[in-house]
């Protein structure tokens, strides 16, 4: 069981290019403010993002001070050519050992759809 899980994580690392959990600036050309949701699904997704993702994926002065920020705020995520819905869905469901919990027991399929819709415009 460990082998396919590790493979999945390696693939996800390749897709998202995640770095060790230390704060870093957004990459060049990455917008610094998130996109504004317009559709109901995007708005719902933003709410789900706020409820489940922001603790690590939204930066703040305190988080910087306490060194607990994740590697990215996920702004402009879908501008990366390697990012696909399926890869994002898999990451949300599987998580990353020692890095990010799996949300398979927390989020329903429709909630993940909404979250992805938001991530596309974030």
């Amino acid at each position: 069981m460990r082998f396919p899980y590790q493979v999945i994580c390696l693939v996800l690392l390749a897709v998202f290019g995640w770095l060790p959990a230390a704060p870093r600036a957004q990459g060049a050309g990455t917008p610094s403010t998130p996109g504004v949701p317009k559709t109901d699904q995007q708005k719902s997704g933003e709410a789900i993002f706020q409820q489940n993702c922001t603790l690590c994926h939204v930066f703040s002065g305190d988080k910087k001070r306490f060194n607990v920020q994740s590697s990215t705020e996920l702004i402009g995520l879908y501008k990366r050519p390697t990012v696909t819905d399926e890869a994002v869905r898999t990451l949300i469901l599987v998580g990353m050992p020692g890095r990010m919990p799996s949300f398979r027991y927390t989020l329903a399929a429709r909630e993940i759809d909404d979250l992805i819709a938001y991530l596309k415009i974030r």
Partner: protein, 648 residues
């Protein structure tokens, strides 16, 4: 602008509080207008005048089987408005809104265990509109739960409770509840490995704010001494606990690590991959007086600056301190609105990641406005100016001149902690790591009054009517005070919790700090003096109780919040002109009322899920005082008005 002119304006369009200063100051021309102002203000402010003919929208809420639903919340919001009004149904399921302006309204009705149901209506002049609702049952009740309903629903007899009923609820309350509403935490389900990952993350985070290694710069600079104590209250920890690198663990991390196995095992058991047979226990819906209220919620604009709210119109004006010391005024501030995020639909659950990200403070001005300062801690001076902190010092906002003045702390002095107050002489007080500061605005000079017990983590602060400054020391269960007239300092000690079961090991754990506490601790956090009486009231966030201290005898009396409300995180108590104590609840969508004469609590509903109230205020101007509640979550502040007509 003279007070007289303000009163004239009040007669035409402004709230009635405009008249109050003029009347108090004895300006003769203002007096004949006072009554007119009062009536005009009452009418235009949309207060809950109880007259059948003035009802604007009313109806009946029933369940699918046709039975009336008592205590259901009904809310409405006009198109383009930033105000939402909510009322609750009576025993017959009937509701009625106070008079509302003409317009197109969205409406919704909801109750836990029932599906939120929506409608739209148009109000025209003189027209009374009926809108009935039928609420189907709702299956995923856990999504709608109030935070304390989560605590009610969690098991209290697991192996991790170690024979002490409810132990783990309290362990989680004391170790997670500072930063997270319980619904935010418990709505999630993770594997044991992921709960451990999260615990590790949180434990690392909490250690960053631990004495003596934290970034808050405890007391060295303020005391101008080398400070070697490491344990809250002074001295060193009785038992060594070292991390993998041999470094002593701080006060908070020690608790996180002590409870690590039990926390992970309990969370995996009840919120893990396997569905735990949870019995969802919901609170009774509000009835009687508790349901006979009107709550008006005002959206708060974006931007961490001073907002001034006109309660009559809901209009916000922003004031920003410029780098050059000037003040910028913005009459059209920007809002960011997403109804899925604002807590109005309870089935969307508890929204916020951290508790303290929204509007923390609020102060009812003496000029008819409500002030929403940035940061934490605020008060009015004798002239009605608003004081808070920022820009490296105390900040005064002159409400007439609409200008900021900053009184910087001397270079190298410790920063402010949470509480702020102003005494009868107009001197600004602020909690600080070493005790309390007092600023004389005439000279700009600060004076430090060190606390008796060091490293107690001064938190909230208030000034009583005899100019004693009182400050909660959350880490050591003490309330310190400084006599502003003599400079004498002292403190009152709250005894440890004795009525809740815990193991001997629990009792041996050492004191925590702001975020993590031992389960025998109380955690006094906010306090307010009765401006007309002889008591200071303090709330114990972790312990779930109110403490009353006589300002001269220092006699202590404690009142525990009953039953499930114990987990409601009572935050700031404020005393109204009738001696009633109002308490914000940051872990329950309720506003608590405590009558010291009967020693009874009443809990009023707040219509936003996970609203997380902090520093509230009371408007004593109306015959029946009104309570103002800022939300940390949901992007709103609320005005709670109490109706007098039981039939509604």
């Amino acid at each position: 602008m003279s007070r007289f002119r303000l009163c004239v304006l009040g007669a035409r369009s402004a709230p009635k509080r405009y008249c109050q200063p003029a009347k108090a100051s004895g300006i003769s021309r203002a007096k004949p207008l006072a009554g007119l102002c009062l009536v005009a203000g009452w009418l235009v402010a949309g207060l809950p005048v109880e007259s059948q003919s003035q009802r604007s929208i009313g109806g009946v809420v029933t369940s699918s089987d046709g039975k009336p639903l008592e205590g259901a919340a009904v809310s409405t919001r006009a198109e383009g408005s930033t105000m939402t009004t909510s009322v609750w149904t009576n025993q017959q399921g009937e509701y009625s809104f106070p008079p509302l302006p003409d317009g197109r309204y969205r409406m919704w009705a909801q109750a836990v265990r029932f599906t939120l149901t929506r409608a739209e209506q148009t109000l025209a002049v003189g027209k009374e509109v009926r809108q009935n609702f039928t609420l189907p049952p709702y299956a995923d009740v856990w999504r709608q739960l109030d935070d304390i309903e989560w605590f009610e629903s969690l098991p209290d007899d697991t192996p991790e409770d170690r024979g002490m009923p409810g132990r783990m609820k309290r362990v989680l309350h004391y170790n997670c509840g500072t930063c997270h509403n319980s619904g935010y935490l418990f709505a999630k389900r993770f594997s044991a490995a992921d709960w451990e990952l999260i615990h590790t993350h949180m434990s690392n985070l909490t250690s960053r704010a631990d004495p003596p290694y934290d970034d808050e710069g405890i007391t060295n600079k303020a005391r101008e001494t080398e400070y070697t104590d490491e344990a809250p209250g002074g001295g060193t920890f009785a038992s060594p606990m070292l991390d993998a690198g041999g470094k002593p663990l701080g006060a908070q991390k020690r608790l996180m690590e002590f409870y690590k196995k039990d926390i992970i095992a309990y969370l995996t058991r009840v919120r893990g991959p396997e569905a735990y047979p949870m019995a969802w226990r919901t609170l009774p819906r509000p009835t009687g007086d508790a349901a006979n209220i009107v709550v008006t919620e005002y959206d708060v604009p974006e931007g961490g600056t001073l907002n001034r709210l006109d309660p009559k119109t809901g209009r916000m004006t922003q004031f920003t301190l410029g780098r050059d010391g000037g003040t910028a005024r913005n009459d059209t501030p920007a809002y960011y609105l997403n109804e899925y995020r604002n807590g109005s639909d309870w089935s969307r659950g508890i929204r916020n990641q951290f508790q303290e990200i929204g509007q923390h403070d609020l102060k009812v001005g003496r000029d008819g406005y409500v002030y929403l300062p940035p940061g934490i801690g605020r008060d009015l001076d004798p002239q009605g100016n608003v004081w808070f902190s920022g820009a490296g010092g105390g900040v005064k906002f002159d409400v007439k001149a609409e200008t900021f003045t900053v009184y910087p702390l001397p270079k190298g002095w410790e920063g402010f902690e949470n509480g702020k107050g102003v005494d009868s002489q107009g001197r600004f007080w602020a909690a600080t790591a070493a005790g309390a500061y007092r600023l004389d605005p005439r000279t700009g000079q600060y004076t430090l009054f060190p606390s008796v017990t060091p490293l107690g983590r001064p938190y909230g602060l208030t000034v009583d009517r005899e100019d004693k400054a009182w400050f909660a020391q959350i880490a050591v269960d003490k309330i310190g005070y400084v006599d502003g007239r003599t400079g004498d300092v002292g403190e009152v000690t709250l005894p440890p919790i004795a009525d809740e079961p815990m193991t001997d090991e629990d009792r041996k754990t050492e004191r925590g700090w702001t975020w993590n506490q031992p389960i025998y601790g109380k955690g006094p956090r906010r306090l307010q003096a009765d401006p007309r009486g002889d008591y200071v009231w303090a709330s114990s966030y972790f312990g779930g109780l109110l403490s009353r201290i006589h300002i001269r005898t220092k006699q202590l009396t404690e009142y525990k919040l009953p039953g499930p409300y114990r987990f409601g995180n009572p935050y700031e108590p404020v005393v109204d002109k009738n001696g009633i104590v109002w308490v914000s609840m940051s872990n329950a969508d309720l506003l608590a009322r405590f009558d010291p004469r009967t020693e009874r609590f009443t809990f009023y509903p707040i219509p936003t899920r996970g609203h997380n109230a902090r520093n509230i205020d009371v408007d004593n101007t109306p015959a029946i005082p009104e309570v103002w509640v800022p939300y940390q979550a949901g992007g709103k502040v609320a005005r709670v008005q109490f109706r007098t007509n039981p039939a509604r």
